[in-house]
């Protein structure tokens, strides 16, 4: 236990600690700064903000001033709700079908379902646009829903499959040996046990749909404007401080949702698996 040893350990704590603190700062600071800036009194996005006012929130919630934003929000919510709804149906069926299936075709299907997570979303968005146009469909909200479902369903499949793999097969066997039908077993044993997994996945899919840019970018039109695309437009043209207000609302909603999910299904624990 010489002096060099403790010096080396000290430098370790110092370097690792500093870098980790920097990482935390980089993660948290921008969010805090946007929240504070959204309450600015001025017309520009300066930091520190000058004065305190709710004017940008008022402008945001004013139906006549921010009609475009409101419509984009409704479109986004509608698309997210439908694509998540269908996603739950297809996603949980796919995971139940693929679970414990060691067939080669099942492995291929598994990879296929997961591919939207790795492949560049833009490539998929462009391909979807070309495909829909060439078979003669006009861009509409339904097409966006279909497109979103394809890119968000992997989240549901992943968390549901994780739940299924933790399921004790003996439970199903005992249910069946006690005379329950396949359907009854599914309804009373399997589904209740994997429900938290499906729920967590649905939550992630919903958020991913709200946040989706690549697919919406190619499939949305002026009539079917989506929130992220709308916000992107607002950022590209002028730096409208209403974006800060929108961000403030989204940050608050995300924070609340996260607390709720943490309490109900233990979301973070699931994501670490």
């Amino acid at each position: 236990m010489g002096r060099r040893r403790s010096l080396a350990d000290l430098s370790y704590s110092l370097v690792i600690g500093t870098l980790a603190a920097l990482a935390l700062l980089i993660i948290v600071a921008p969010v805090v700064i946007v929240l504070t800036t959204s309450f600015t009194e001025g017309r520009s996005l300066k930091f520190p903000p000058t004065g305190f006012s709710l004017q940008w929130y008022e402008a945001l919630f004013d139906a006549s001033k921010s009609r475009q934003i409101h419509r984009a929000v409704y479109n986004s919510l509608e698309v997210a709700a439908w694509s998540t709804g269908f996603g739950i149906l297809f996603g949980s069926m796919a995971s139940l079908g693929l679970a414990r299936n060691r067939h080669r075709l099942a492995r291929v299907a598994d990879g296929l379902f997961m591919s939207p997570l790795v492949l560049p979303g833009l490539t998929f968005g462009l391909a979807a646009l070309m495909y829909f146009t060439l078979i003669g469909l006009r861009p509409s909200l339904n097409l966006i829903i279909a497109g979103h479902m394809i890119v968000t369903v992997p989240f549901i499949i992943r968390t549901t499959s994780a739940s299924i793999s933790q399921l004790d097969p003996a439970l199903n066997d005992s249910s069946q040996s006690l005379g329950a039908s396949w359907f009854y077993t599914m309804r009373r044993v399997t589904l209740p046990l994997i429900a938290p997994g499906i729920f967590a996945g649905a939550f992630l899919a919903f958020m991913a749909s709200i946040d989706n840019v690549p697919v919406s970018l190619f499939l949305s039109t002026a009539r079917t404007d989506m929130l992220p695309i709308r916000m992107w437009g607002m950022m590209e043209s002028t730096l409208d401080p209403r974006i800060a207000a929108v961000s403030g609302v989204l940050i608050t909603v995300a924070f609340l949702l996260m607390l709720i999910m943490e309490w109900t299904v233990g979301l973070t624990g699931r994501m670490r698996e």
Partner: protein, 253 residues
């Protein structure tokens, strides 16, 4: 589908041919854009690992209570829209942003620095935006490591640095590689962040795809660029995961 469309000469998709491929591959500008896009991914991965890995180490040593808080902070940005996170960085890096105000008040600089529309600003922003993608797989692998191995290393007289590089890093390699893959794939295709923070002066493949398909309406060319992006990302990703598997074998063998 994309492959099919890419083999048409004109933007009305009537004449089949290799014209668009020749146009793209014959232009030195295309190579610059490809290299720039890949380098952006590499730089973001490096920056993310440099500060993300230490954070994972701190997480590993933290008490269960602190771990809960940390994981909450790490996951939180993931649920926040990419657009919001990008916007946050505009506020931070802008001419009247936090960084410039702070540096000017401290008297370090007299003129505001140009941080937006530079690659540096873009890499900093992407580091935050993609950080959860690195940390989640990394932490999941790290928390499954046998803590006794690190204790044993310390008990045998290794310094903490030596333990880190000889024990912890090699054992957490699968998580690290998985995280790097996600960060790379995501940062090279982060269209919103690239256009808003990078501006029109920094051109990457996603911007080119968007311009060609939705501004110029040259779909075949957009298809060519899009396939290029797909192939380049997949090449790097499979190369990395091959290296990851090899290093995994080295640890266990």
């Amino acid at each position: 589908m994309l492959v099919g469309v890419s083999f048409f000469n004109d933007d009305k998709i009537t004449q089949p041919g290799f014209g668009q491929w020749a146009k793209f591959l014959g232009d030195p500008f295309s190579y610059k854009v490809i290299v720039d896009t890949m380098m952006l991914g590499v730089k973001t991965v490096c920056a993310t690992v440099l500060i993300g890995y230490p954070l994972a180490l701190v997480y590993l040593d933290a008490s269960p209570r602190l771990q809960k808080v940390l994981i909450f902070i790490i996951v939180m940005p993931l649920l926040l829209s990419v657009v919001v996170r990008t916007f946050a960085w505009i506020v931070v890096l802008g001419r009247e942003g936090v960084v410039n105000t702070l540096l000017m008040q401290l008297g370090i600089i007299s003129e505001p620095l140009r941080l937006l529309q530079t690659e540096l600003g873009l890499v900093i922003s992407l580091t935050q935006i993609e950080m959860p993608l690195l940390l989640l797989p990394l932490i999941s692998v790290m928390s499954r490591l046998d803590g006794n191995l690190r204790d044993a290393s310390a008990a045998l007289g290794a310094s903490r640095w030596r333990t880190l590089f000889k024990v912890t890093v090699p054992l957490s390699m699968p998580g690290l590689v998985a995280g790097c893959l996600l960060v790379f794939a995501s940062s090279t295709t982060a269209f919103i962040s690239q256009t808003v923070i990078g501006g029109v002066r920094l051109i990457y493949l996603p911007l080119l795809i968007w311009q060609q398909s939705l501004v110029v309406f040259n779909w075949p060319f957009a298809a060519v660029v899009s396939l290029t992006l797909l192939v380049s990302v997949l090449t790097v990703v499979s190369a990395l995961s091959y290296l990851g598997r090899r290093s995994g074998g080295y640890v266990h063998g």
